[in-house]
């Protein structure tokens, strides 16, 4: 999640309220990062780990998880760029 995504037209705020608003955005970003972490683990585990004969992660599973996570992060960045473009397009149309 990118800070610019949350943008938009905010009413004029006092110094104190600005601090509060920015604190709130930071808090949302922290929560979102933690959720993303959880859902990335869930997805890559589900897609890559299917046998339970061993207690530890097998080499093949490990490299699958790595590629899965990297691929998802690249995907997520690309989506973020496209999403930002559409958001800006919508903003200029207004």
């Amino acid at each position: 999640m990118d800070k610019s995504m949350l943008g938009g037209d905010m009413p004029q705020l006092s110094e104190e309220d600005n601090v509060r608003m920015s604190t709130m955005i930071d808090q949302l970003q922290i929560r979102d990062s933690l959720r993303m972490y959880n859902s990335l683990v869930e997805r890559c585990f589900t897609d890559c780990v299917d046998t339970f004969k061993h207690k530890s992660l097998q080499k093949q599973e490990e490299s699958c998880v790595r590629r899965c996570a990297e691929k998802f992060l690249k995907h997520s960045m690309r989506v973020g760029m496209r999403f930002a473009e559409l958001n800006q397009g919508a903003a200029t149309q207004d």
């Binding site: 006092s14 709130m24 979102d32 699958c64 995907h75 690309r78 989506v79 559409l86």
Partner: protein, 83 residues
């Protein structure tokens, strides 16, 4: 001290609305990301790179998801442009 004056309830509502709006956008982005990953990305993970086919699929998927968001928004009468 201005934080605890008479209008604090109204101010709470403004902050609360802004918070919901942001939560909404974050959720939209997350659903979009997961949905387009499911639609476009090969799940055997032989590569850690996105190939050309995946990349163009992702771009179109985001664009179409955006259109669907607008379309459903119109039906719901919110009139919010992808928001």
């Amino acid at each position: 001290a201005s934080n605890d004056t008479a209008s604090s309830l109204e101010k709470e509502q403004i902050f609360s609305m802004a918070e919901k709006e942001m939560e909404y956008r974050v959720e939209l982005f997350n659903k979009l990301t997961h949905t387009c990953f499911n639609k476009c990305v090969e799940k055997k993970y032989k590569e850690s790179e996105l190939n050309m086919g995946e990349n163009s699929c992702i771009d179109r998927c985001v664009s179409k998801y955006w259109h669907v968001t607008n379309l459903v928004g119109q039906l719901l009468g919110s009139g919010r442009p992808g928001m």
